[in-house]
Every structure is written in C-alpha cells, then in structure tokens.
Symmetry: C2
Subunit: 263 residues, 2 copies
C-alpha cells in the first residue's frame, strides 16, 4: 500500500497562515516531518483557493518540491489551481480528483489528458450525492472509466476512491464494510486490475477520543488492505497505523514474509 | 467475536507446576486475571495428560469453575481427559476438538453426542496433514460436517477451525490469507451459517520481537473479523489486540456503531 500523508492541508492553521503569508518554511517543515515519518507520497490539500488560485498553488508546489522528491497528489476542486499545480510540478503529479459531476468532467478531467497524469475518481453521483448501495457504486465506477476513456485516458490512469464514510453518518459502518465488497468486485466486474485509494481519517470524522479513533482506523485498515487497497491517504503521524499498514503489506504480499520489513 | 483466552495452558511453567502439585491457586489466579482482562471464555489446554488423565482434568476443571462462570473450552487430544473434563463441567463445555483422523472420529466425536455439546473441527486431512489449498480445505469442511452428522450432531454444534498457519511455514502468510477466503466461502458452499474459530497466536509462533508479533496479529485480526470469524482464541493479556477486536465487532455489527462500546 502506497502511504500518502494527508497532513499538508489548509485546515491546519499553521499551513493556512503560511499560505496566506506565502512563507514556505512552515510548509517545508511539515513536508520534512511527513517524509521522515515514512510517507511514500504527499497530498497537497489546498482547499478551493478562491483568491489567486494560480499563484497560491504554484507557491505551494514549489515550496514542497524544494525540500522533497516524493510524488505529489494535487487535492483541490478548483480547476485553475489544479492546472497551476500540474504545471508547477517537476514530476508527474496525481489529480485528486474528479467525479461524474458535470463541472468536474468538463474542467478537471481534460487536465489529466493534457498532462498525461493519473487521476482519482470518486464514487459519487453526478449530483455529488453518495450512492446508496454497492450496485450504485459499481455502476458509477463503470461510468467513471467510460467517461475517462472519452478523454483518451487509459484505465490504468484511473484510481478509484470509494469514499470512506464517516461513522457519524447513518449506518456509516455498514457503508464502510460495503465499500470493501465494492473494492473486491471492481476488478472482476471491469475485467482489469483497478487501483483504489481510501482516505482513512474520513472514517473517524467528529469529536471522539483520539485513542478510540486510532483503534477504529487500525481495525478498518487491514480490512481495506485485504480487499485490495493500493493507496492509503492518512495522517502519517499516526505511527502505529503506519506500522500496521506495513504489517498488512507483508501479509498480503506475494513475496516471502519478512519480519525485518516490520519496523 | 467471542474472545477466548488461550492463557491457561500446560506450556506455561507455573500452570504445569500447579497441575503437577494439584495446587489450584496459581490456576485460579490466572483464571481471575483472564476474566478481568476481558475474556468471554477460557480454553483449558491441558496437553495430553498421559498420567492420570481423568484425575488431572477433573482437578483442572473444578479449580477453574470454583472461581469463574465463564464458558470453558476443553483443549486436549486425550479422549479420557476430554471425557473427564466434560463430566466435571457444571455447564456445557466446548470440545477442542476433532479432525478427520480416525482416532479422533472414533474417540472424541462420540463425546460431543453423549454430552450434547459444541465441538471444534480442524481443517486437517485424515493423516493430520495440513491441506494444500482452498479446495482441499473446503472438501475437508464438508467431510467434517458429514462425519459429525453420522454421530447425530447438528451443523450448529460444529465450529470450524481453519488452522491459522505460522508465518515461519513456507508461504505461511499466503496460507493465512487463503484461510480468509475459505471462511468466506464456507456458508455459501454448505448452505447454512458456519461458525468459525481461529487461534491467533499460531500466526506468530517462533522467536520474534514481541512488538512485531503484536503488529502482525493486530493486522491479521481485522482480516479474520471481516471474513466472518465468530470466535478468537488468543492471549487475552494482549490488551490492544483485545481493543482492536472490540473495534472490529463494532465495524462489522448490524447494529448502530457505538463509540461507547470501545474501551
């Protein structure tokens, strides 16, 4: 499982402040900490960047790249910011992401074609509603691949995000388990390997004791791993969650189990 | 998941010594600690009890029952000791267990009928070899149910143990993952709910750093839980593993998710 740090996000006050002042230092400190903690990649969650989206995203990507060579996921719903991020990236970044919402198809999806990059597709309806069951989710996945192919994207450029439901949602945990079945069925349904990504911290959104949140994410993560998850977006400073991810990798690998790979 | 403590075992020196001296106190101290730690049931792993099996098992069961009302699993390959344990038990104990080995069928299985108790069936060949693949395992499961029915046991009296493989075995982790598929396929194949049990500590048998062992068991446990596991046999003093089991219960439950149930 590729471990993507979700820590570089505008909802962190220090990151928001640094972006406002265009001060790269707090951002770079965060990036170094993420890399040191064991991140394989970084998600740059800038939010919508309503003011100066081009300039702000360029600043963000350049600040990050100055201190790391880790792959980047550009995480914004603003197509102008997304384009600026992809342009500023030294290496191919990943678009996070698109859905069947018309403005995402028209404004975000073409950027994947132009820049020949991978793109995350969310299992959401065209009206941005969350699908109600597995069948709806599988149909949406088929639609995402079909839509992408109209923009000449290859199936291997698409990474499916089944949307991890917050447990505070009604029947949230049932939907979380349902996502596992969807992930297992995708390759069989589509006839080719389907890469998947999950945002683990979504599960425990809300005010709960942090150790309970960690317990729940550490219980759900191996379920995701055994269901074929390829990429995990999570708080890289959750050290034990990272270690469990490594243990899951060893258990689900085709190679020889290595105790040495566990840290 | 029913949490069964595997701590009361003859391989613990203090328990072996207490049994030898027929001193109930160290055994009862262990039982109290297991109950306090959160055990739902206790496995009494007496070993073969080659000397005085009737007397020794009677002593063990009576010592345990004097301080707890938790359900008991009688874990011995010796049919004389097994019979004594079932007779001494105040409440119905569970037989752990039988396999397709002829002497188990002839000597252990009839005890389940006589005492009308549940019995664990191991997915092992008649020559006690471990099956090589899922198909062999599923065939053995069918044979176990058929054999049990000849002794007038009902399907709901049988608890299938797919045998958790030690990771030190060749391709042990692949076999561990294979067991999950077997567990998922059993109810579909047999056409009725099939209860399952797994001995978690088998996975990490051998000399490894204890934190790495815990990591691996905590990664494998949620995979078992999401595959339908009913009963977990494990070291109840592995406190975080127990907490993760509780979190798995919440995630896989049909009821409303309760943060309060997480300790």
């Amino acid at each position: 499982v590729l471990l993507i740090a979700d820590n570089l996000r505008i909802t962190h006050r220090r990151i928001a402040q640094a972006l406002k002042e265009e001060n790269p230092l707090p951002i770079q400190e965060m990036v170094r900490c993420c890399e040191k903690a064991g991140a394989d990649a970084l998600d740059i969650n800038s939010g919508p960047l309503t003011k100066n989206p081009r300039r702000k995203m360029k600043f963000l990507v350049e600040a990050v790249q100055a201190v790391t060579a880790l792959p980047l996921f550009i995480d914004t719903a603003n197509p102008v910011a997304m384009a600026a991020g992809l342009e500023a990236a030294d290496h191919k970044a990943v678009i996070n992401g698109f859905s069947l919402e018309p403005h995402k198809i028209s404004a975000i999806l073409p950027l994947a074609q132009t820049h020949d990059v991978d793109i995350i597709g969310y299992l959401l309806h065209a009206d941005s509603q969350v699908p109600q069951n597995s069948t709806e989710k599988l149909n949406i996945a088929v639609d995402l691949f079909e839509t992408a192919s109209k923009f000449n994207l290859r199936p291997d450029q698409i990474i499916i995000d089944p949307i991890v439901p917050p447990l505070v949602w009604q029947q949230g945990h049932l939907k979380a388990i349902e996502n596992l079945e969807v992930m297992q069925m995708l390759p069989e349904l589509l006839g080719f390997p389907v890469r998947t990504i999950a945002g683990l911290s979504n599960l425990t959104t809300g005010r709960h004791h942090s150790d309970k949140k960690l317990l729940v994410e550490q219980a759900y993560l191996p379920m995701l791993a055994v269901s074929g998850l390829d990429m995990l977006l999570f708080d890289i400073f959750h050290h034990r969650t990272l270690k469990i991810a490594k243990a899951c990798d060893q258990l689900t690998s085709d190679k020889i189990f290595s105790w040495e790979m566990l840290r």
